[in-house]
């Protein structure tokens, strides 16, 4: 306990202390503000619809997200087996997209999809990430078919 009296801080005046705290606070808020603004400006991706891409509203040199439906019968696989070509449509326009890698489980033709990536020179959307959306209240026909199957099986079982 005696040591406290010896050290220099003990004698610090209330005013000096106050300044020190305010200094800390300013420094901290400036640092955080810098981090946040830099972080946000570098890592924000905009969202465009296929129509907006078709109308050249979407940027050519910057990554963005595109959302729509995977066009029916559009999914094709490149010979390397890992690159997939597909169309994203909002029913008015279709954007060709390519993705290399493993697609999420919920990716399917006729289902909603969100892809992140860039347009290349040929206007093909080179996706780096593909997110497939799934909504509980929404049933696509394919799903229902399987459902019907399960349903019929259940009925068969109860009859046996």
């Amino acid at each position: 306990m005696t040591e406290q009296q010896v050290n220099g801080n003990g004698a610090m005046s209330a005013r000096k202390k106050r300044f020190l705290w305010i200094g800390f606070a300013l420094l901290l808020s400036a640092a955080v503000a810098a981090l946040v603004t830099k972080g946000l400006s570098a890592n924000v991706t905009y969202f465009y619809s296929p129509s907006e891409v078709a109308q050249n509203i979407a940027p050519k040199d910057r990554a963005f997200r595109i959302g729509g439906m995977v066009e029916e019968h559009s999914v094709q696989r490149a010979p390397d087996g890992l690159t997939i070509y597909f169309g994203i449509t909002d029913s008015l326009h279709v954007v060709r997209a390519a993705y290399t890698g493993i697609l999420p489980d919920l990716f399917a033709e006729g289902k909603g999809v969100v892809a992140q990536g860039k347009l290349d020179e040929k206007g093909v959307f080179q996706a780096t990430r593909v997110l497939a959306k799934h909504d509980e209240n929404y049933v696509a026909p394919e799903v229902a078919e399987a459902m019907d199957k399960a349903h019929k099986e259940a009925v068969m079982k109860t009859l046996q």
């Binding site: 890592n43 999420p104 489980d105 459902m147």
Partner: protein, 669 residues
């Protein structure tokens, strides 16, 4: 019939919590003991009715009562029993039911373990909790009734979302909700203190164990969620900075700040206003999390059925609960007392730093999560904020926080000598710097950027560990007796702190090594092909078609995991098709170990005639440490809870003022 009983039980519970939320509060304000005494009884009986209602819901799920809409849309006769049980909280309605049930459970627990508290305090705390329960029960009955009937009755239900058919997902919501809802106790204590104008060290001691317990649940809940995402989503990631995940992180950050600021309030009687604000914020953010997830205001990869009407209800509820408590705070907080004094170099100031940094971290995560909403509302376009933002902002703040973590436990209350601190921290600092710089080089990294990142991570972890060792050694140094005896004499709360901080270090090591050394490859493999990752070789043996599960069929791949030409084990990743949803689901196969995971998941079949599949393989060194770290943190919380001083209080039947035991609280002012 059973669903109607459930419905009726809910309505009765609503009446009871309405009484719980009004009369005791009025009684406490006017000093009417009879009204105040209602609090305990209504809390306990309303919990019984809530439990009954939940039981009815569970029963409906177990017997496949498809006349209940909730059952028909979330269950199926093929669904195994344990998932039918889990399905009862898998839906929106069910999860709200569980929320309310847990709120009732916490209220009931408070009513039981609060015998030593003044009647007035109990009445206010339970009253506030009653009001919150009333709002949520109204929400449930008006917008999300779990017992809503469906006519005509379908023969078969729609099945639980396959993503949720998993042990991790069955456990994740209940633990997470226990944490969310548990903060309602701290919230109720804070509001009660504002109402009553009494806020002192005793108050902090009462609300501390509740807060710690809730925090433990929240930590485990988040951990299970992260673990689930890791092995179930098939992307090998454990945290995506997704809005839903952030929603659970926000209350955790504030809850962590709250635990620390409560410690100051208990020991030193200071930080009172701040503590109250944190308690309000922790619960507010829990509610906000529910709002964000359930209203559809923010889009998320994790899909939930959303409904703007529900969102409106929750928003009004939020405005009443959060807005109301913050108004109360603004006008009543000046009464609860002023801050005590402490020097710049002291444990208080380092804990203040901890609080500020955690709050700032929470603020930046909140900003990043809501930024798309802000821009959209201002018509500036639809955007999303990527994980790099969160990493770029969160990590530096955490680095400063960790630096303080080393100093805090070593500093004395009220005033610490900088010279003494420097002396004590000298060795830890030296060891930290040497290890942090040497380790990346030893591990074979030379590129400066990756060395810097690794050094930062290792530095943070070693700093925590070495300072903790120094703290323990210093504590023991002053004591007489044998080493183990000395260890045993330390209070449990001390060990709690050590364990929790150690958990942070372990967590950081896990994150650092995974980020620095993980390897991933997406490849196309035909049977017989091999791929090497992280010193291991995966050999694709083949695919066995359609192995039948109870409600799915699967393509099951077989892989040989080979290290140094020796077979380690076989891995069997699956691609499942669930009958009811027709939805494919990837089940990754993981060879999990203390030093790292080997992870393989199946993509799709490539129709090239050779039976090739696209395959993703990972080597994830030390990933287990991430969850181990969370478990240590939780264990620390449990140790703190088991501290002797709380147990003594629990047993005390007489309403004695709770001072004397703590030598510091008296001398604080």
């Amino acid at each position: 019939m059973i669903p109607e009983i459930g419905q009726f039980a809910l309505i009765l519970a609503l009446v009871l919590v309405l009484v719980q939320g009004t009369l005791p509060l009025a009684g406490a304000a006017r000093g009417i003991p009879a009204w105040m005494s209602l609090a305990r009884r209504t809390a306990q009986s309303s919990f019984l009715f809530l439990a009954l209602a939940f039981g009815c819901l569970l029963y409906s799920f177990i017997i496949n009562d498809f006349s209940v809409l909730n059952v028909a849309t979330n269950s199926n006769t093929h669904l195994p029993l344990h998932y039918r049980i889990a399905a009862s909280w898998g839906s929106h309605e069910g999860s709200i039911m569980m929320w309310v049930l847990m709120l009732g459970m916490w209220s009931c627990a408070v009513s039981i373990f609060s015998r030593h508290l003044p009647e007035e305090v109990v009445a206010r705390v339970l009253g506030v909790m009653g009001l919150v329960t009333t709002g949520l029960l109204l929400f449930m009955l008006l917008t999300s009734n779990p017992f809503e009937r469906l006519f005509p009755v379908p023969l078969e239900g729609r099945d639980l979302n396959p993503l949720l058919q998993d042990p991790g997902m069955a456990l994740h919501p209940p633990t997470l909700y226990m944490g969310y809802v548990g903060f309602s106790v701290a919230f109720a204590f804070a509001v009660a203190a504002l109402l009553g104008g009494r806020l002192d060290a005793t108050w902090a001691r009462w609300s501390r164990p509740w807060t710690t317990l809730a925090w433990c649940f929240l930590t485990v809940g988040i951990m299970i969620g992260s673990w689930w995402a890791y092995y179930e989503l098939g992307w090998g990631g454990w945290w995506f900075w997704d809005p839903v995940e952030n929603a659970s992180l926000l209350p955790w950050l504030i809850g962590t700040a709250l635990i620390h600021s409560l410690a100051v309030t208990e020991k030193r009687g200071t930080f009172k206003i701040w503590t109250v604000l944190l308690a309000i914020c922790a619960f507010s953010l829990s509610l906000l999390g529910t709002f964000l997830v359930r209203s559809g205001v923010l889009t998320s990869v994790h899909a939930f059925a959303t409904d703007p009407r529900r969102g409106m209800f929750i928003l009004v509820f939020l405005a009443l609960v959060i807005g109301g408590s913050l108004v109360l705070f603004a006008f009543r907080a000046p009464r609860v007392g002023t801050a005590g004094t402490f020097k710049i170099v002291s444990r208080e100031s380092s804990l203040l730093g901890n609080n500020i940094l955690l709050t700032v971290a929470c603020g930046t995560v909140l900003l990043g999560t809501l930024y798309p909403l802000f821009l959209d509302a201002l018509n500036l376009g639809k955007i999303s904020v990527g994980p790099p933002y969160f990493e770029a902002v969160f990590v530096p703040i955490m680095a400063v926080l960790v630096a303080l973590m080393g100093i805090g436990p070593m500093a004395r209350w009220k005033e610490s000598s900088p010279r003494e601190l420097r002396h004590k921290l000298r060795w830890p600092l030296l060891i930290t710097i040497v290890c942090a710089l040497a380790l990346p080089l030893v591990l074979g990294r030379t590129e400066w950027k990756s060395v810097a990142l690794l050094a930062l991570g290792f530095g943070m972890a070693f700093w925590i560990i070495t300072t903790l060792v120094a703290v323990v050694l210093e504590r023991l140094h002053h004591l007489q007796g044998g080493f183990t005896d000395k260890l045993r004499r330390q209070p449990r709360s001390f060990w709690g702190m050590i364990l929790a901080h150690l958990g942070v270090a372990v967590f950081i090591i896990g994150v650092t090594v995974v980020k620095g050394f993980e390897a991933e490859r997406d490849v196309r493999m035909a049977p017989g092909d091999t791929v090497s990752v992280g010193g291991y070789t995966f050999k694709f043996v083949g695919i066995a078609e359609t192995q039948e599960g109870p409600n799915y069929s699967a393509s099951r791949g077989t892989f040989d995991l080979i290290k140094d030409d020796k077979l380690v084990r076989n891995l069997y990743p699956e691609k499942r098709i669930y009958f009811s949803h027709g939805m494919p689901m990837t089940e990754a196969a993981i060879d999990s170990g203390f030093l790292g995971d080997r992870y393989v998941s199946l993509g799709e079949e490539i129709n090239d005639g050779k039976g090739s599949w696209s395959v993703r393989v990972y080597h994830k060194p030390f990933v287990t440490w991430i969850w181990l770290g969370c478990m240590l943190m939780t264990l620390g919380g449990i140790f703190a809870l088991l501290d002797r001083r709380y147990r003594i209080n629990m047993r005390k039947e007489a309403k004695l003022p709770l001072t004397g035991e703590n030598d510091l609280s008296g001398s604080a002012r």
